[in-house]
Amino acid sequence: MSGIVLEGVTKRFGDHLVTDAIDLVIPDGAFTVFVGPSGCGKTTLLRLIAGLEDIDSGRLLIDGVDAAQTSPAARGLAMVFQSYALYPHMTVRANLGFALKVARRPRAEIAERTEQVAEMLNLTPFLDRRPGALSGGQRQRVAIGRALVREPKAFLFDEPLSNLDAELRAQMRIEIRRLQQQLGITAIYVTHDQAEAMTMADRIVVFRDGRVEQAGSPGEIYRNPASRFVAGFIGSPRMNFLGGAIAAKHGAVTIGVRPEHLAIDPAGTISAAVQAIEYLGSDSFVHLGAQSGETLIARGVPDLDFRSGDTVQLRIAPGAVHRFDADDRAMPAPAPAPGANIFEETV
């Protein structure tokens, strides 16, 4: 078992509280993604787990042992850095074998492990090159390989794909995920890209201002966001928010509706002006300005028989309303009153 458990982990930089008493259990063998806007403390938390920063208070348990005072290497975790952080003066072979070399392993074992990992990551032809002579994707694979060689208890990824172009990023996402599943090693992956989080994670932890805003599977977080922040952060395009009278009718301060649950329907009761239409082939998004001032996005309009500037009617799909209170926390779904149709309201 290689569980990582955080209990009240707190870190300050001067007066700034970077992580505020975080309690978290990282499931064994699962792919956990830390996601949140920049400055939310997710990278700091990863560095605290890695041992690159010292924890101010709280406990960090790795395999049930408090590791807060253990050196980074002795924690048995491997990290892939955003910049890859390869050793530029060493060949790919030396980069991959460095951890084994400093651990004074026999030369034959180092050679064998290095070749094995290179094979796994298709790096064999590049073993005698230096990082400077590799493409971005290849450097990325060397960085992953360097983590693999050590057979760590867990992988820590710090926004590893942010320096790659979109196509390569999508490819590497799948490659990393496949590798992790194949090896069954626990992984913690930090990103600010919610799409990356949704596609890769077994479990997502959403951070905000040094606190855990919500943790759960991608489906749970998408379907039942715990707060308006999570609702707006996860999902693309982002959730529509409506306040005022329509929210009040639902007994909430704000209501949220995902773009796919907002339909353009002459029978609908929300009037809005079409501002722009994004046609993406398999999908289309209509940007609308509601009469009450909010900007809304509706997804998947079948026949686009209107243009910018037209006024259309919108209908919210039944049961698709997320309600939020004055503190922006999610409210439990209301029990529908008999006969009442709360989804047909005028803005």
């Binding site: 990290m79 850095f81 952080a85 050793y87 530029p88 003066h89 400093v102 360097r146």
Partner: protein
């Protein structure tokens, strides 16, 4: 196009003029070292039309003091530079990669010690050295010159280390490298150009240092600076032999500069990150 060529020609002329002006004393010393003592002081001075002679060099090398002083200079400059690097590398490492809010202050304070003229501390240091038996000793010079050059070395290495991406050092820490391995296997190779140029600078400074070397040593530990100075004292001024001695003193530094140069131009950090 034509104006650009003219600008280039003017710039080239300026560069040559500046270089010759700067190099003139050295070139003149070189020429004088091949003259006889009479020609060395003749007026008007002769540039190339004189009787070239190696007598000055032969005389200096025959006296035997040169070798003694050369060995002393190599030991004093080499030893103090090695000591400087041994202290400055860890110091600069901690300031560059684990700075605190006092780091800037410490750096400035260290530099401020260079603002005091050495003569200001001459008496106390002379007395200490007398009591500790360090007068006229190579150990005494090594310690003193190391202390004198340490601030500059820390400054140079600090700015150089800051160019090394910290994540590479963190990666080595994750890989299990000890502090020593991190410094030797990762930081030193990456910062080699900076370390080489720092070494060259402090070596040259120690090699040419002529306040302490002239005042704290007399016979046993005399380096080349004292050797050169000897030609301008007791028996009178010997320009030609003084010049020859100076040229012989410059040669080792030029050699080291040439050796270090290969490291100075090698950019190793390329491709490390991004």
């Amino acid at each position: 196009m034509r104006t650009r060529r003219r600008h280039r020609a003017i710039a080239t002329m300026f560069a040559w003029a500046a270089s010759l002006t700067i190099a003139f004393p050295l070139l003149w010393t070189l020429l004088t070292s091949f003259k006889t003592e009479l020609e060395a002081v003749s007026f008007p001075p002769r540039f190339l039309s004189f009787d070239w002679t190696l007598a000055n060099y032969r005389g200096i090398l025959a006296e035997g003091d040169y070798l003694h002083s050369l060995v002393n200079s190599v030991i004093v400059a080499g030893g103090s530079s090695a000591l400087v690097l041994a202290l400055a590398i860890p110091a600069a490492w901690s300031m560059a990669f684990a700075p605190t809010h006092r780091t800037r202050g410490i750096l400035l304070w260290m530099l401020s010690t260079k603002m005091l003229p050495p003569v200001g501390v001459f008496i106390p240091i002379f007395l200490f050295y007398r009591d500790w038996g360090l007068l006229d000793s190579r150990t005494g010079l090594v310690l003193l010159l190391a202390a004198a050059n340490l601030p500059i070395a820390v400054w140079m290495l600090f700015s150089n280390f800051r160019e090394v991406p910290g994540e590479i050092l963190e990666a080595s820490r994750m890989d299990g490298a000890s502090l020593w391995q991190e410094l030797v296997s990762v930081l030193a190779p990456l910062a080699l150009p900076g370390i080489a140029s720092t070494f060259f600078l402090v070596f040259t400074l120690a090699w040419n240092e002529s306040f302490w070397t002239l005042n704290l040593v007399t016979t046993e530990a005399t380096p080349l600076t004292a050797f050169i100075a000897a030609f301008s004292s007791p028996q009178g001024l010997f320009w030609a032999r003084l010049s020859a001695a100076s040229i012989l003193s410059i040669v080792p530094v030029l050699l080291i500069g040439w050796l270090c140069q290969r490291q100075l131009v090698r950019g190793l950090t390329f491709g490390a990150v991004k």
